[in-house]
């Protein structure tokens, strides 16, 4: 559907022309010419939510992958003499598994892509991976799926084709438990907690991960109460259940629309204002609904986006300028990382002399380009990606460090991203208080 054809007809014609001219002139440099003519290319697929409940994010994710596509291709043209990817095709998932499977089938079978970026929600990513990508030997790198199930997915144990550039919720759950049990800030300690979570893989997974880690630290989780995904006019029954045993703090694992409604009720009806937040609540909407006074000082956690790391700043600058966007929604930077990692793996495959770039060829090189050892490449800028391709051409190793974090894939295909502690300020804003780097996060 949406295509950005960099190696389009015009450019290809120009390339052929240049090639012919060069061929007539430089008989003395047969090696370079052969390398140029023999550069294998592949098509990069993407599934993104353009319609449905996450419709607002689809275009951002597509543009992020498009940026990665353009940068890797520009680098490959400069260093290797030709693009590595011929097309970037983004298909709609409708934020639902059934159409997502159909779109993935189209990409894998009709378009013949060896790699797919995407799957925003975990339900979609697992469904497309298990029923299409893994049996077809296609690499899938999810950019927004945080369900812990993906780590242990049995279908992927031997196939090893499902990766993701976002950390599983397990880590955020652990950091949230550390925060509330006083391990991070001595004066921020609670003995008991209750969670109120949105009933989908995200909310349920994070709530369970937090509860397990909090109990392991000696705290009591008095209740974990789910609420529907659709915003309700009132949450009094859920709040009554969560606050029944008078917890010290209420952990809100919901989206801003929900939180804005139920926190108002918690304050006005139940007189309860001791709250902790997660990434999904880091939103203006919550402040608008409640006012800054009551929120000031409340702490929360968030994975991924760490505005202090240079790769994110580079990415933010390039992305907002290239596409005229004024904000970067969650998981946009991880979509970019997924695109770059796949692109660089393709470059590496081409340099290794692979004649055809398949899903497994890319998979075998994904960790090579993204993990240490090697020269660190701080993503986000064209120069950095060009440098990465140069190092690869010269036979060196690279360690891509992405906009969402170090982008080092473990054996399960997961990455560990930094976790931020943030708070609502007195003047109605949100600020990052502290960033916990991946190596400081305990395993449980």
């Amino acid at each position: 559907m949406t295509k950005s054809v960099l190696g389009g007809r015009l450019r290809r014609r120009r390339l052929i022309g240049t090639g012919a001219a060069l061929g007539a002139l430089t008989v003395a440099a047969p090696y370079r010419l052969r390398a140029q003519a023999g550069l294998p290319t592949f098509t990069l697929g993407q599934i993104a939510p353009f319609t449905g409940s996450a419709a607002e994010f689809g275009e951002f994710y597509r543009d992020a992958v498009r940026l990665a596509f353009e940068q890797v291709n520009a680098a490959a043209e400069e260093v290797l003499g030709g693009p590595i990817m011929d097309q970037h095709i983004a298909e709609d998932t409708n934020t639902l598994p059934t159409p997502a499977i159909e779109s993935t089938r189209k990409l894998v079978e009709a378009d013949g892509v060896p790699a797919i970026v995407g799957g925003w929600s975990s339900g979609v990513s697992v469904a497309t991976a298990v029923s299409v990508s893994i049996p077809s030997g296609v690499l899938q790198v999810a950019n927004g799926s945080t369900s812990p199930l993906i780590t242990v997915l049995p279908e992927d144990r031997d196939a090893d084709l499902l990766f993701r550039t976002t950390a599983p919720d397990t880590y955020q759950g652990i950091v949230l438990a550390q925060l509330l049990s006083g391990e991070i800030m001595a004066d921020h300690q609670f003995r008991s907690a209750a969670t109120l979570y949105v009933n989908n893989p995200y909310g349920q997974g994070l709530s369970n991960a937090f509860a397990r880690a909090f109990q392991a630290r000696g705290g009591t989780v008095q209740a974990q109460v789910p609420h529907p995904e659709e915003v309700q006019p009132t949450y009094s029954s859920q709040l009554a259940l969560a606050l029944q045993e008078e917890p010290d703090i209420l952990v809100c694992v919901s989206y801003p629309g929900h939180t804005a409604t139920y926190l108002k009720e918690a304050r006005d009806v139940f007189g309860f204002t001791s709250w902790a937040f997660c990434d999904a609540n880091r939103s203006e909407r919550v402040i608008e609904a409640l006012g800054p006074d009551v929120l000031a000082g409340s702490l929360g956690t968030a994975p991924g986006q760490d505005p202090s790391i240079p790769a994110f700043q580079n990415f933010e600058a390039t992305y907002t300028e290239r596409f005229g966007r004024d904000r970067i929604p969650p998981f946009t930077e991880s979509a970019y990382d997924a695109g770059i990692a796949i692109g660089l793996a393709g470059v590496k495959a081409a340099i290794d002399g692979e004649s055809e770039i398949t899903g497994t060829v890319l998979r075998d090189r994904l960790r090579t380009v993204a993990n240490p050892p090697g020269e660190q490449i701080v993503g986000g800028t064209q120069e950095a990606i060009t440098r990465a391709v140069q190092v690869l051409r010269d036979g060196g190793d690279i360690d891509y460090s992405g906009a969402a974090g170090a982008c080092d894939f473990d054996d399960a295909g997961d990455v560990v991203t930094p976790q931020a502690i943030w708070r609502f300020t007195e003047d109605g804003a949100m600020e990052t208080v502290q960033v916990i780097s991946p190596e400081d996060i305990p395993s449980e």
Binding site: M1, L96, P99, R105, G123, A127, V130, P154, E155, N199
Partner: protein
């Protein structure tokens, strides 16, 4: 032709043969050789000429369309023949899918059990699973039918929407039952071992050697055969049922309930029977779906892709006509998937209009589907294939004999359009 293509062609041949049998309406004596020739020839022709990827795509497309066709047949029993305005297809679809998943998977153990929960996992064979899916959907339909079928038309529609949502929300919220909001995975694929290495232990060596060129990604060719077979069986069974006296009572109940009751028929019982039969067929469709996608969760059974698209399929194909139901499923699913290619083909034109327009093609696709739906309702309310006014085999035979005599009407199984159009328009579910 390389070995893999050859095997694929042979696997496709039965499906295409069945298709020709179903579509071509000529006497059996000529139909058998014609079906074989066209089916086998078509399969080899397609396998030889089409690009391997495109062929696979068409196969996976046909599987999904086939599953929708089963759902459509189920709805046709309820709406097409009996006039039940069931907007709760998603509920029976989900029941069939989750039942077969629970019956055929194994309960998670070890670290996986931390992330995946289910009430039980019986590890029974595929056929038991899909039968259980149909039975459970039928039983639930029966329990629902007693209070709900007192309602008519729009009230029934509201009640069934509610029931479908309840079923979906139960599966979303009850973690112990089927992993709650998280995906329930590991639904086995029937005969998957035939494309694996090593192959099934029970498979005779020659067959195994013959199937050897197939890779796991070619499994869809096997599953297409399974779906086609089940679709054909459901079609034959339902055709038999609706052409029987029982089927005529259904249609009589739909058109003139009071007269039917006056003729001594037990109308409430017939209405319940048809509701249960339709729901069981939908459950079967759900079971086929679960074995195809391998993983399911509540979000698969959302009203748009599990209820309303089936309605559009039946409305387009022709309610009250089983062949129309199947045709509608293939056409609508083709339109939905085809618009993805269409917007791609339109890209240069779109770019000429505005630089950013191709970026919006995901939304243009919905526009095309909506326009098509509006066009159907406006110009073809009775569907592509109209309901047959005479369905009894005995009457058809007599008519067939009469048709050969001069002066008698030559159309068999197709009434004058004027007779059926108002009737079909009158039963239009709020769209017309």
């Amino acid at each position: 032709m390389d070995p893999a293509t050859l095997v694929k062609a042979i696997l496709l041949a039965p499906t295409l043969t069945i298709l020709v049998f179903a579509l071509v309406r000529i006497p059996w004596r000529a139909r058998v050789p014609l079906g074989l020739v066209l089916g086998v020839g078509g399969a080899f022709g397609a396998a030889a000429t089409l690009d391997a990827g495109l062929l696979s795509y068409l196969v996976s497309f046909s599987i999904m369309a086939g599953i929708y066709a089963v759902l459509c047949l189920g709805l046709n029993v309820q709406w097409g023949y009996t006039g039940h305005l069931n907007f709760g297809i998603a509920g029976f679809f989900a029941l069939g899918a989750f039942t077969t998943a629970l019956v055929t998977t194994s309960a998670p153990t070890g670290t996986l059990a931390q992330y995946s929960q289910q009430a039980f996992g019986l590890e029974l064979p595929f056929l038991v699973g899909i039968a259980a899916g149909a039975v459970v959907a039928g039983v639930v339909a029966f329990l629902i039918a007693i209070p709900v079928l007192r309602l008519r038309m729009d009230f029934l529609a509201i009640a069934t929407i509610g029931i479908a949502e309840i079923i979906r929300l139960v599966f979303q919220n009850e973690r112990w039952l089927a992993n709650g909001p998280q995906p329930l995975r590991g639904v086995p694929r029937p005969l998957y071992c035939t494309v694996q290495e090593p192959t099934c232990a029970w498979l005779p060596a020659p067959v195994a050697a013959w199937l050897a060129p197939l890779a796991p990604r070619d499994y869809i060719f096997i599953y297409l055969g399974i779906v086609t077979l089940i679709l054909a069986l459901v079609y034959l069974a339902l055709e038999r049922a609706v052409r029987s006296p029982w089927g005529r009572v259904l249609r009589a109940t739909r058109d003139e309930e009071t007269s039917t009751a006056m003729s001594g028929k037990n109308v409430p019982r017939v209405r319940i029977q048809s509701f249960v039969l339709g729901a069981a067929v939908m459950g079967l469709g759900g079971a086929l779906y679960a074995h195809y996608t391998v993983t399911i969760d509540y979000s698969h059974f959302n009203p748009l892709f599990a209820t309303f698209i089936v309605w559009v399929m039946l409305m387009l194909g022709g309610s009250g006509n089983n062949r129309g139901a199947i045709l509608g499923a293939f056409i609508i699913w083709g339109v939905w998937s085809g618009t993805a290619f269409l917007t791609e083909a339109l890209e240069p034109g779109l770019r000429a209009i505005s630089e950013t327009l191709p970026d919006r093609s995901a939304y243009l696709r919905w526009l095309l589907v909506a326009l098509l739906l509006a066009a159907i309702v406006l110009y073809r309310p009775q569907g592509l294939l109209k309901e047959e006014t005479i369905v009894s085999r005995h009457l058809l035979r007599r008519r067939g004999a009469a048709a050969t005599t001069p002066g008698a009407t030559a159309t068999v199984g197709g009434a004058p359009p004027a007779a059926t159009a108002p009737e079909a328009a009158g039963r239009d579910p709020g769209g017309g």
